[in-house]
Symmetry: C3
Subunit: 297 residues, 3 copies
């Protein structure tokens, strides 16, 4: 595969360093609002990262001087302004939520994904730009808000799937059915985050330090299988046993397992393979095609 070009984006800045792809939302003058062009950039960059062997960890962040990490959708034109005309021809069934498109690409990315939330976030800035990530770092002062019921719309971007899975229905109810604004240390939010940091400035460096460590110490193949098992695991302990038995058997016979044990005993950083080997079994789950097929010519 030819290497992707990370320079052509409009709404984000992208940098690849030591296996870590850093994606920075670049709309500070617009309070980092979510617009279609930002969604398109994010979809593309996470699709690139998914396939680029050089990338082992992806971080999404904002400038820590920006007014917000992401202040949600730009609804200055009202909600209906957010929907493309071509949906209308086919009716409501044709619509595919833009935040959800981004959520799915991030959630399905086979690399470790980290959101470094160094500012306030609302709406899609919480749902698509935080919930589908593997890990979330946050500034303790970053206000988080899911105000959908207060704006007359529905929670989007897969949030009613992701949020209860991440922190349970009790807190998901509290967040989505009050539509209130909460700080990360609130008992309603805290377990959403891997780490809560006292200042904005600490958020990205902390996330980057973990990312760089994992870029060396985490086997890309193990990450792929672990995410697969967490996202597409069995529906009983027995089904899970059948899946993880097969996964561990495949991995234990791989060079990464040998290197994992060897480097551990030699007390040195491992050198894991980056090139995805062709597995006959992975992915073991069915892909779901969510594309709308037009009925009209």
């Amino acid at each position: 595969m030819s290497l992707p070009d990370y320079s052509g984006f409009k709404e984000i800045k992208v940098q690849l360093d030591s296996g870590v792809l850093v994606v920075t939302i670049d709309r500070a003058t617009k309070r980092n609002t979510f617009i279609d062009a930002l969604g398109a950039d994010l979809k593309n960059v996470f699709e690139f990262a998914d396939k680029d062997e050089r990338v082992r960890v992806v971080i999404l962040t904002a400038e820590d001087t920006a007014p917000a990490y992401c202040s949600g959708a730009d609804i200055s034109g009202g909600w209906s302004g957010l929907f493309a005309k071509d949906d209308d021809e086919e009716g409501e069934l044709a619509h595919r939520d833009g935040g959800g498109q981004v959520s799915m690409v991030i959630y399905n990315c086979r690399k470790i994904t980290i959101a470094a939330v160094n500012g306030h976030a609302a709406g899609v800035g919480v749902t698509a730009l935080q919930l589908p990530f593997d890990l979330r770092f946050v500034w303790a002062g970053a206000k988080q808000s899911l105000p959908f019921i207060r704006r007359g719309i529905a929670p989007e971007a897969g949030s009613t799937y992701l949020l209860p899975r991440l922190i349970g229905h009790s807190r998901a109810n509290s967040l989505l059915l009050t539509g209130g604004t909460y700080l990360p240390n609130s008992p309603l939010l805290e377990n959403l985050y891997h780490e809560i940091l006292p200042t904005r400035e600490e958020v990205f460096p902390k996330a980057l330090a973990l990312a760089k460590e994992l870029a060396v110490h985490a086997s890309p193949k193990s990450v792929r299988y672990t995410k697969g098992l967490l996202q597409h695991g069995g529906e009983s302990i027995e089904e899970s046993h059948l899946l993880d038995s097969r996964a561990i058997r495949i991995l234990a016979a791989s060079p990464d397992a040998a290197e994992g044990a060897k480097s551990f005993f030699e007390r040195r950083p491992p050198q894991f393979e980056s090139k995805p080997s062709k597995d006959s079994w992975y992915p073991w789950w069915r892909s779901v095609d969510v594309k709308y097929r037009k009925t009209k010519l």
Copy 2:
């Protein structure tokens, strides 16, 4: 629809004020024990609330001078005394748990539901009268107990479904398999509650203040869809995307979304529609009929 009459109840007091229906358990002299008549009143009042356009939020509470919020079933006659004779003719298959009947009506109510737990609670006082609600406020001194295994019976009222979903299996196990008594600030319980208050007297006013705010600021249609997505969401992020794309498309085209955006920019309270519009799509899930059909004439 003719307006329901909230005056004919025996075991509860009911008051409708500014869109908030306040239901108070009125059995203080009996420690607010759960009896069939209380169950019937609760089923009726939540069914009324579900359909009454004037009601936007329902609160269940007790008098804060009562010996308990609800001290569970009245088992002075033993457990077998709790089962109606007509079950016996058809055997165990015919039985429908009374607490569960209440749980289902509360859980399926399309309005925001809040339990204001201003006293101790045990058994069905925790299961049916707390778990199916969207939000729970509680007094820090209110002892909570799920003693089923210590009384030789099974946890009821959908609690083995609701409790793990709300706070995870680790804590559900701890609560149900020790049968112990815990205070709301216990790590085993705390995330069950939206807010824990130091005194009994603060519980109801706090719940009422949020209820009144949500009665104005939460779009009834948004609430209906959000609860639908949380309770009957997709089983993968892709399924969730298909559901919430359709939901947000329908809502974004509704008057509530226009008013939600407009009132936000005008910095004034929104005026949302109360009348449920006829949606061709909602509810999108299958209703389950749990009624027993007798085999004998």
Copy 3:
């Protein structure tokens, strides 16, 4: 049934006292590493406990002077050394993970199971030897580590099923996708534990005290049904209602329910039946056979 003999084990010590079966890992000189022989002993002892009417609660623990509760698999021979030759003849499909075999037996045990984690734990020492238990007590100083991605293998022993169910996907991601080492009081771990104790020496006595209390105060039949409902409950509140209605009807008519109510009013310890009655309905779920059937003679 003839009583099982608890004296023939090699890697564990077993003691039955007042309804509590105490299983102590007896490999302190080997840092309590997990080897096939330990797995076999654990499978056997939990299978015995499941069927032995005298056993009401099982505790797994280690000597509190041991270097670890369980320091994981012994990988001094590399990962591939852990796989028996006979897997190889049939390929990866034939493999059944040893940790998972133990997890399933513990998870499916119909008695209350408690892990008393009085030392450090890593890998299978967390997954198989903690996650399938009903309750976990732990020493605050016991380091917990799930380093699979750092060793080039996959998380095993049903951990990708059990961990998210117990504490949610947010923390399961943090633990499994960083592969880091955490103390029990970390927000990433704390809700995994029923109780966290300041010293190693307090862990087992605390677990034993609860075990002895539950051996008297918890109806074995209630425990069986409660665990069944938690593990194999309905997939909606309606399905759950149908299951728990039937369960409570069966139990309410049982001698244990009568004794549960009677002893409660007489303020004395209950005397529950130990002999499992033949229930026509329990277990109501399908058993899953995970055994591999060889294709070759």
